[in-house]
Every structure is written in C-alpha cells, then in structure tokens.
C-alpha cells in the first residue's frame, strides 16, 4: 500500500491554500484523508501535490447564525455527531454523522471532504439534500453559495470548480419538524447500501411538509420528490403507499453486495420506516 510520490504543502491560511490550489492543476486538497489517502495507496489517485488543509486554523467551527447553523468545512464527523447545537436545533446532520464509518473515520473525516468526495453511498449527501442546506465555496474570485440540490452532479462529481475550496456548510434549523436518518450499513465498508434522511413537519396525524434525501441507490444522492409530493397535506396513513415511490425514475446501481432492484426495494421500505419514525419522533 504505497502511494506514488507527491509534493506536500501545509498552508497556514485559507488564502495561501487558495493561491496554491490555483497555481497547480495537478494539486489536490487533503482534509481528513479518509477518502483520498486510501485511493492514493491503491494508486487510484496520484496527485502531484497535496495541499493539507489541516493546519488552517478556525475552519472547524459549528455555530449559530440565526436562521441557520454554520459549519466549517473541517468539522469532523465526530464533532458534527456530538454537536449540542445541531442536536438541539437541526439534528438530522448529526444523526447522519454518527452513522458514518467507525470511530477512527469519524475522528478524522470532515464534512467538507465528504461533500467534495460525493461518494454515491456517503451519508451526508442525503441529509444535506433533505435539509436544503447551502454549501459555501471559496476561491480567488471570492465566495459562492451552492444550494444542495445543484451541488451533487454525479458519481464522485460536484458543482465545485477545480480552484474552489468548500469553506462552510449552512443548514437551516428544523425546530418543529421530526428528523430521522435510517441507514442500511454495508457490512464491509460501513457505507450506506441505502440511507434515507427524512424531515417531516406536521400536526398529529397530518403531514404539512416533508423532505426526503436518499443515498446509496443511485449514482448520486437524490430527493424523493414523488414521495414528498404524494404526502404534502396528507394524513400519516398515506405514508405506506407514498413510500413505494421512493426510487421512482431512478437508475439504481447494483454491485456484488446488493443489486439495483434490492436497493430500490430497500429505499421504499426504509423511506416508509423513516417517515413513520420521523412523525412519531416529532410528536415526543
């Protein structure tokens, strides 16, 4: 497990990092390294320069910004999972984070790295989509706010430009809604075979609004809009039928562990269960 040789820089400021990134085409940013380093060791990635973001201070915050919570790109999965602020006012992201990998992965991996990686079975994308979060990208030309729904563009691809660094994630508060992240773990990798993130707002028995993000099924996480449309303003009893549309119009991916058909089926079952749980968790 020996990577090809590479240069290494560890800038102390965001500006330095941005300048370095713009100066070299064959450079890659290094955050927690829990996607990039394994890929390099297997020689699936061989960047000529690594720009380590780890020495840049002050990019791992999780803070209250009024309507939203702002999360620095270098916040680790463990920090997100344990954030009192998130757990109190927008728990979905924390619920997803505590399902990521194992302790070592959660202690090193970062939210910015996970989003930039855009792994088709990563957990955050489902939650980010369901929350309608915003992703802040910074480059020499300044800051750009990318809404979640236009951020993930395909398998391992995002709307980020090569010279941009994710600096912040802004998630809305979900007070008054029930949120649930339900995950079927791959027994080897720990990634999501299927992960369903649900945000449900409603009074007893009736669903006012609902948002569902699903990961693991298709080459990119998606919003289950057919289910959402079928449920807005409907009684809870509509959930079972609506959930059957969780993978409508989706090209499901299959592998040795789980076929596309099975993932599609799991998406339906897990969506139903997630919605039912979200509704009951809200009532508590």
């Amino acid at each position: 497990m020996i990577p090809a040789s590479f240069d290494y820089e560890s800038p102390k400021t965001l500006n330095e990092a941005i300048t370095l990134l713009a100066s070299r085409e064959d450079a890659k940013l290094l955050a927690g390294g829990h996607s990039l380093l394994p890929a390099m060791k297997l020689r699936l990635a061989s960047p000529a320069l690594l720009i380590d973001l780890g020495r840049i201070g002050g990019l791992d915050y999780i803070r209250d910004s009024g309507e939203t919570i702002s999360i620095g790109a270098l916040a680790t999965h463990a920090a997100v999972a344990a954030s009192r602020l998130l757990l109190a006012s927008s728990p979905l992201l924390a619920q997803a984070a505590c399902n990521i990998g194992d302790i070592q992965v959660r202690n090193r991996g970062t939210i910015g790295g996970s989003l930039a990686q855009a792994h088709p079975s990563a957990d955050y994308p489902a939650a980010i989509l369901a929350l309608d979060a915003n992703i802040v990208a910074t480059s020499q030309s300044g800051e750009r706010v990318i809404p979640a729904h236009s951020f993930f563009t395909g398998m391992f691809t995002t709307a980020l430009r090569p010279d941009e660094i994710i600096t912040e994630i802004r998630v809305p508060k979900t007070a008054g809604s029930g949120t649930v992240y339900k995950k079927f773990h791959h027994p080897a990798s720990g990634y999501a075979v299927v992960g369903v993130a649900a945000v449900v707002r409603g009074a007893t028995g009736k669903i006012d609004d609902v948002a569902i993000g699903i990961t693991g099924v298709a080459e990119v996480a998606y919003r289950a809009t057919a289910v959402e449309d079928a449920l807005r303003g409907k009684p809870a009893s509509a959930i079972a039928e609506a959930a059957k549309h969780a993978a409508d119009k989706v090209e499901a991916l299959g592998d040795n562990y789980a076929s596309g058909d099975y993932r599609r089926h799991l998406a339906q079952v897990y969506t139903r269960r997630a919605l039912q749980e979200a509704l009951s968790s809200k009532r508590k």
């Binding site: 020996i2 027994p187 040795n256 099975y262």
Partner: protein, 805 residues
C-alpha cells in the same frame, strides 16, 4: 506414554494454577504495541521487494520486459522464472494414489493460472522505489479460457488448466462403510440437499511477511517469517534453496494470527531467501491487504450433495455424500487434504449404519484453497448439521430430539464412527441438555409459533457438533503428528520451556506456564515459554488443528515429569530419603511425612549444576526433552443454539440470543478457552452471514479489499452465553482436547439453521451462504410467489390467513 483406555489421571484437572482464569502473559507487550512482528525487523543494508502479479486468471506469458524497471535508480534486480531455475518447486505434502500434483514454480513459467500469481520480483533499496518500478515491468499476456465453476470444470467440453492431465479433476477419493443400498431400501424417507460452502479468506490481522538474511561467509541463512510452522518451513526452504538444513534458521516472531493460512509454504517464502542469497543482502517482503485477500490461501469452497436415509421415527439408516472441492490452480502444502477431513467428519456425532462418500478435487483458475480455521471440519459439520435440520423438518420432528435420538450413548465410547474414526470420549446428551436449558428452548419455540401468527419470523438454530482435534497421530498426518518440548530448569531455579508448538495468538505462553507451575510447585511468572525459533527449540511440528495444548502441552508435561524424577533422585541423595518419598511442592523439595527434611527449590536446582554432591550415575544439569506421539486424535463436541428474527420485508437478520456449550475436556485456563470460543464463533457466524471471496466471470477477485470483503466488526457480533461440560480425553494425561476451532465449526450451521427455521413456514429449506439480506429477501419473495404464506406480513392479511387456515 499415552494410554488408550481411561484417563490415567496423573495431572489433576485443577491445581493451584491449572483451571484458573489467569491473565495472559503475552498481553502487556502486545496491547502496548512494543513487541515485534516480522515487518518490524530492521537490519542494516535491508532491501525491499515487490511482486509483479498476473492480472489474468489464465493466460500464456508471451514476453516479459524488465528493462525499464531494472534501469530505475535504486533498483538492484528484477527477476522472473528464467532467473530462478535453481529454486525448488512450492511443495505439496500430500500423497494419494491418483492425486495430480502440478508443477508449482515460485514464479510463473510460461503460463499464469490465477489472478495474483507472481510473475516477477523487483528488489530495490526502499519499498517505494520497488513499488514504482514494479509498475514498469511489462508483461505481454495472451489470455486463455478461464475455468471457474467446479461442476462445469468436470464436464467434457470444459477448457483444461493442465493439458497434460487431460482433465480438471485433481483426485477422487471414496469412503464407505455398511450397506448403503440396504439402507435406502429400508428407508421411509430419503432427505436430499445441495449445499454450497463458499470460498472465504482467512484474513489474519497481520498479513504475511518474510525477511531473509544470508551471510555468505558463515553460509548461514536466517529467515523471519509470519508462520505457524517454523520447523517445517525451515526444512522446505532449505530444500528449495539448496542449503543444508542446519545452515537455515527460521524465526517466527510475534505472529498476528494465521487461522491455517500460515501453515504453508508460499512462493514468497522461497523467493525472498533466494534473493538474499543472490544479493548477499537482507531482503524483506510484506504482503499488502490486497495481496493477502488475493494470494494467501482461501478456505472452504465446496459443493456438497447430501442424502440422508431415515425411518419415519427419525432413526438414521444411511448417509450418502458427494463433495466437490475447489483446489484452485495449484496445490499448496495441504490443499488436497482438507476435503478428506470433511469426509472423515461427515458422520458428525450420530450413529450412521451405512455411509457412502465420494470426494472430488477440482482445479480452477483461482487461488489455492487450504487449511482455514477448522480445515474441512466446518464443511463436514455444516453438511451434517444442515441435513439433520432438513430431515427433522421433513419428518416433522423437533430438531433437538431428533438429534438426541441418533447420538451414541456415553457408555458406547470409545465409539467407532461410520467414517472409521475412534471417538475418544463424549456425552452429547449432556451438552445438548445444558444448551437447551440456557437458551430457554421451549420458550423460544412457543414464541416462534405465536410469532408466525403475527407475521413475525423467529427461528431457532441448533447445532450439535463434534470435531477432530489434537492433530494428530503421525500415521494420519502428512508430516508427523507429534510435538516436542525441552524443559530446562536454569541454575537460578527459573524455568525455560522450549516448545515445538508455535503459538500465534492462542496464549500458550500462559497456559504452559500454568501447567508447569503446578507440576513443579512454583509460580507461573518464574517460567518462560520460548517458541518459534528453530535454533533454540528442538524440531517441532507447529500450531494448527487445535493441537497446541493437547499435543504440544503434553510433550511439555512429559518433559517435566522426566525432570521430576531427576529432582527426586538428587533430593533423595541430599536429604537421605527414598526417591519415591520426595515431594515437590510450594517452592520446596521435601520428604513425605517428615516436615523437617526439605530444601528450598533454588538450592536443589543449583546443586544439580554445581554437581559437588550427586548420586552415582546422575547427569549434571536439569534439562529434559520429550517428543510426544499421540495415540489418537481427540474429539471435542458441544451444542450451539441461536435465536434469530428475520425481517421478511428486507431479509435482514437479527441475532437475539447465542448459546454455546462446549466440551473440550479439562480446561487449563477458562478465560483463554472462552476467548477461543468467542473468536471462533465470530468467525463462523461471519461465514454464515458476511464473508465470501467472489470472483467474477473473468476470474477477477472482486472482493479484493476490506471495503468489499466483509469481516465482522464488534457491532456485528452478539453477546454469547457460554458454558461448558467437561469430558476429559483418555488420549493424554491432562485430559485436554483442544478448542481453537470448535466455535467456528459449530456456529456456521447453527446460524443458517436458525434462519432457515425462521422461514420454514414459507417452505424455505435452504439458502446458501453468506445469508446476505438480499439473498434472504429473494428467497422469501420466491417462496411467497410460489405459495401464499400461512401468515403474511401485515396484521390485516394475518387475520385473513388465520381465518382461512
């Protein structure tokens, strides 16, 4: 020597130390990470090598160009098969009348026959340079048709892996007893099942690693290797590289698990020493995890056709079996032996009047199979315990009662099985009873019935296993089944035990110390166990086949007994007493019935070395060696019970309870036995639920990393309820049987039985491993499509079902 009859009772089951939960002496250095594995060995002028491996499952090698790699700065040499003409073949220790043993060169010659087969080796000053240069070795392959499926491989139209053999069949082996035709005629029912025991990867925590240092002046080769068999490896490597055996020293430093995969001699074991001899520099190779999954032997991989002939009342009349075993492309050390162990253990713990078994070994374009924890016995236990469950269901008998009906009675031991083995001792009824009690079996069954009515699928799996341990009498093993020990009491009174066993996680540094401490009346901390160095330890066989304590420990026991005779002779001389009256206990050597006449331990031992006053004919010093040849195997047994709930909507399996009652004879350290059982069960459950080495249609391994190949994490494994019964073996004086593999052997069928039991109302009789949720879900869907279930998954249809039922 060992008696054949009753336990001669020389060693008590419990002493001051034996039988105690004594903490492992190995652990402080291991858990602090301050001990040394092979890859930790650093030597001056050490160079590193990387193997260039075949990306094809079957291909002709048209050409190899090593020029570019060779010209890299820091590269010392690049070798291919043409350079190692003098290096011997990779050995296979098996001999059988019709066994085909293909030539197995350490580097592929002309053809590659599995993905990962070594083709060239790059040696460089550092591992980075070697790895980079390895990518520059250009090999031109001409792909050939790939043979993967063992059933298709036996058909006439199949491509051949060895043209010369004219067949892909490696061997056939038949085993028969009783009159199987008569059994079928008498039978009310013949139950049939086809079972697949999938290919799995042993996945030791520490991958393989070899460091070799050849000193031309001294003509001495030292090899550090992550191995379970240092002496056998020394012999084989000496032959391969052409050095006299005394010139070769093998050291097994800390070894991070093996599970049978390091009971072997691999290409790298020969090539690395050979390179050190050529370069006159120390050479290191350490396997990557990818290589480990690809080119360290695999386990299992058999297709099993089973038929059980029965009377209506559940009496077994006969068992017929055909086992097709995937050998892979070449034979490693014991490849063809493994399925024969399956045949031997197929009758399980049952009285089977007629037995007819055929085994066929088949070559395929995959990595070789060989010994993996249990080695052939898990396959046997899986076969017999699965078909016992299928039979119970077909005859509408309770799985536990049906088994019990066919057990031999305790008084029938030693018991000769349908496969001709002599089981030493057992009480199957007792362990079954205890397990049923602990599991709350009747309650589980009642809940299961109630659950079905509510669309809940609860299942209970039972497996009453027996296995073959303490391998073994030499007559029944390919390379000697004995074990050696030298015990030396040093002038300071401290004890050095040199054992031919080669523990690599089992904890014999602890258990042997407990054993010797009791024999000599001293403290285990005053005893040091040395193993895994051929220069220090007399020739030994190694650790595998749950033999470490039962065979290796017994050798230690007898060596100590020899020393006790010597101590008694010296003490009698010094104390003016008869040797028969000498008592060795509590750190003193004294005379029976005379409290005043005694000497401290240290003084008597020192007297043996100063030798100023010794009896006539007394050899100075205090050292004894014993080579123990066991008279038989031992046969541990037990009952495992597992309760599960299957989610019919997703196929997910929840393990609710797992009970294991094991009987490994007398127990030296209950904590270590628990550890072996727990790890064993985890590994067995993992085969049932998660693990499978998958090759695609081109013969590419697609579960080639731990992101795809599922070994269980702590969260996958339930809490176990463990208990034991104790039926000592008469085969060795300590009455110990062995426990290294029992958990793995028992748990796999137990788990699958539980899931199939849960789904039995749907008419599901078998699902092949691993029981991935998707497979379970598909089986459920297929069954539901075929027959509407008696109770469906929603409350509403359950009500309807009840009405119509």
């Amino acid at each position: 020597m060992a008696s054949n009859g009753k336990n001669n009772g020389k060693a008590k089951a419990n002493g001051q130390w034996v039988g105690k939960r004594f903490k492992r002496k190995e652990d402080p250095r291991l858990v602090r990470g301050i001990s040394h594995y092979t890859d930790d060995i650093k030597l001056p002028r050490l160079v590193h090598c990387v193997f260039v491996r075949s990306p094809h499952a079957h291909a002709r090698i048209a050409s190899i160009n090593t020029e570019a790699a060779r010209s890299q700065p820091g590269v010392l040499t690049v070798i291919t098969s043409a350079d190692i003409e003098g290096l011997g073949m990779i050995p296979c220790a098996m001999q059988m009348p019709d066994l085909k043993i293909p030539a197995h060169p350490a580097l592929a010659k002309g053809r590659v026959r599995y993905v990962g087969e070594p083709v060239a080796v790059v040696v460089a000053e550092d591992a980075y340079t070697a790895r980079d240069a390895a990518e520059m070795v250009a090999v031109d392959y001409e792909p050939l048709p790939v043979v993967l499926d063992i059933e298709k491989a036996l058909q006439k139209e199949s491509a051949l892996i060895y043209q010369d053999f004219g067949t892909n069949k490696a061997f056939t082996h038949a085993m028969k007893s009783g009159d199987i035709e008569a059994a079928y005629k008498k039978a009310d029912r013949v139950v049939k099942v086809r079972l697949i025991n999938q290919r799995v990867a042993p996945t030791a925590m520490e991958p393989r690693s070899v460091v070799a240092e050849y000193l031309p002046g001294e003509n001495r080769l030292t090899i550090w290797a992550s191995t379970q068999i240092p002496h056998l490896l020394r012999t084989q490597v000496a032959i391969m590289v052409g050095l006299p055996e005394p010139a070769v020293r093998v050291i097994a430093p800390e070894v991070g698990g093996g599970f049978g995969s390091k009971l072997n001699v691999y290409a790298e074991d020969g090539v690395v020493p050979w390179l050190s001899m050529k370069l006159a520099r120390p050479v290191k190779w350490t396997e990557t995890r990818r290589e480990s999954l690809m080119v360290t032997i695999h386990g299992r991989d058999t297709i099993n056709y089973l038929e059980l002939a029965l009377k209506k009342d559940g009496t077994i009349l006969g068992l017929r079996a055909k086992v097709l075993a995937d050998m892979g492309a070449y034979h490693q050390l014991l490849t063809p032996l493994i399925p024969q162990l399956t045949a031997l253990m197929l009758p399980g713990c049952y009285k089977i009047p007629a037995f007819d078994c055929e085994i066929v070994g088949v070559f395929t374009n995959k990595m070789s199979t060989d010994a993996y924890r249990g080695a052939g016995r898990p396959e046997a236990a899986y076969d017999i315990e699965r078909i016992m469950d299928c039979a119970a269901r077909e005859l509408n008998l309770d799985a536990a009662k049906f088994r019990s009906k066919n057990f031999p009675q305790p008084r029938e031991f030693p018991f000769t099985t349908a496969a001709g083995l002599l089981y030493d001792s057992a009480n199957y009824q007792q362990s079954l009873k205890r397990a049923l009690q602990l599991a709350g079996y009747d309650k589980l069954r009642a809940r299961q019935k109630a659950g079905w009515k509510q669309g809940k699928y609860y299942g209970v799996g039972v497996s009453t296993y027996v296995e073959i341990c303490a391998i073994g009498p030499s007559a029944a093993t390919p390379a000697g089944g004995w074990e050696s020990a030298t015990v030396r009491i040093e002038p300071t009174g401290k004890v050095t035990v040199l054992t031919g066993a080669s523990p690599h996680g089992q904890g014999q540094e602890t258990t042997f110390a407990q054993l010797v401490a009791d024999q000599l009346g001293i403290n285990p901390d005053d005893i040091t166990i040395i193993h895994g160095d051929t220069l220090a330890v007399p020739y030994g066989i190694g650790t595998f086949g749950s033999r470490g304590t039962a065979v290796g420990g017994t050798a230690v026991y007898y060596a100590v007994e020899k020393l006790k005779i010597k101590i008694a002779a010296l003490a009698a001389h010094l104390l003016g007493a008869k040797p028969a009256d000498i008592v060795i206990a509590h750190g003193r050597v004294g005379v029976k019935g005379n409290a005043k006449k005694s000497m401290p331990w240290g003084e008597i031992i020192l007297a043996a070395y100063t030798a100023r006053s010794i009896p006539a004919g007394f050899e100075p010093g205090m050292e004894a060696t014993h080579f123990f040849e066991p008279s038989n195997f031992t046969f541990p047994f037990g009952t495992h019970i597992c309760a599960v709930e299957v989610d019919p909507e997703t196929g997910e399996i929840k393990i609710e309870k797992y009970v294991a009652v094991d009987d490994c004879g007398n127990v030296i350290n209950p904590m270590l036995v628990d550890g072996q059982v727990q790890g064993g069960i985890a590994q067995g459950l993992s085969q049932a639920l998660y693990e499978e080495m998958v090759y695609n249609e081109d013969g590419q391994p697609i579960t080639g990393s731990l992101m795809d190949y599922a070994v269980p994490k702590a969260a996958h494994i339930p809490e176990f309820i463990l208990d034991r019964t104790v039926t000592p073996t008469p085969v060795n004086p300590m009455g110990v049987k062995g426990v290294g593999e029992a958990g793995t052997i028992a748990s796999t069928p137990c788990m699958v039985n539980a899931v199939c039991d849960a789904l039995s109302p749907l008419g599901i009789t078998n699902i092949d491993m691993p029981l991935k949720p998707e497979r379970v879900w598909r089986a459920i869907a297929a069954a539901q499509a075929a027959v509407p279930p008696p109770a469906a998954t929603t409350a509403k249809s359950a009500r309807t079902a009840r009405r119509t039922a």
